[in-house]
């Protein structure tokens, strides 16, 4: 069987149950930097 001219190569994922992604967590404020001691 001929498939004609090959125009593309792809990676196909099989049928899978949907995977719930974890909800994004609110970003924590960056801790204040302590002044460096000289």
């Amino acid at each position: 069987m001929r498939i004609g001219e090959i125009v593309h190569e792809v990676e196909v994922l099989p049928d899978e149950e949907p995977v719930l992604l974890p909800e994004p967590q609110p970003e924590k404020p960056a801790p204040e930097m302590e002044p460096e001691t000289a």
């Binding site: 069987m1 498939i3 004609g4 001219e5 125009v7 190569e9 792809v10 990676e11 196909v12 099989p14």
Partner: protein, 184 residues
């Protein structure tokens, strides 16, 4: 010309039309080169090129991403379209499904494919797959001689008696939906 690997995975199996040979016990087999016996859930294509073991470096070059190799003929085959009667030149893959599916030892249908897939203008070759749906006209020989019941015991897939219905419900995505046409 052969295009490059996209790097973008396509989610969900690719569909394609194909033929199977039916054994007297109701197993589906690849009809052309290998007579590979299909399972219902997962089938992995193998390259049967004799060079695989004898000329391993050359084989690797022809199969940079494994099976199917671009410069080989390996992999499971699927077509984007049902072969039109005008295309049927007597070769196995060009048989007219409305005449030959279920008539003797062959069944036309659809398979789902995944893994590495080489997309061509007329069809594809794939690394893995499974039967998805079968086209068996009413009154066909394999439904009368009991083989269809055996097939369904091995493969729990829909059997559709109308070719139009098969096409309208299960038609392959083709190149456009896979994003190949826009990238080509």
């Amino acid at each position: 010309m052969t295009r490059g690997f996209t790097g973008e995975p396509v989610v969900g199996p690719v569909r394609g039309y194909r033929w199977w040979r039916v054994t007297p016990e109701g197993w589906l087999e690849s009809p052309w080169y290998s007579h590979y016996r299909w399972t219902a859930e997962r089938n992995g294509a193998e390259c049967r090129s004799p060079g695989r073991r004898l000329l391993r470096r050359g084989w690797k070059k022809r199969h940079p991403n494994g099976v199917p190799g671009r410069n080989c003929g390996c992999g499971f085959y699927g077509l984007h379209r049902v072969p039109a009667p005008d295309d049927c030149s007597g070769k196995l893959w060009e048989m007219d499904p409305s005449t030959w599916s279920g008539a003797k030892g062959f069944i036309f249908g659809l398979m789902a494919a995944w893994g590495t897939v080489l997309l061509g203008t007329e069809g594809w070759r794939a690394q893995q797959g499974r039967p998805l749906a079968l086209y068996v006209p009413l009154g066909s020989r394999i439904s009368l001689d009991g083989r269809l019941d055996l097939v369904l015991a091995h493969y729990p897939v829909p059997v559709i008696s109308s070719l139009d219905e098969l096409v309208s419900e299960w038609a392959p995505q083709g190149l456009d939906l896979l994003g190949a046409a826009s990238a080509a």
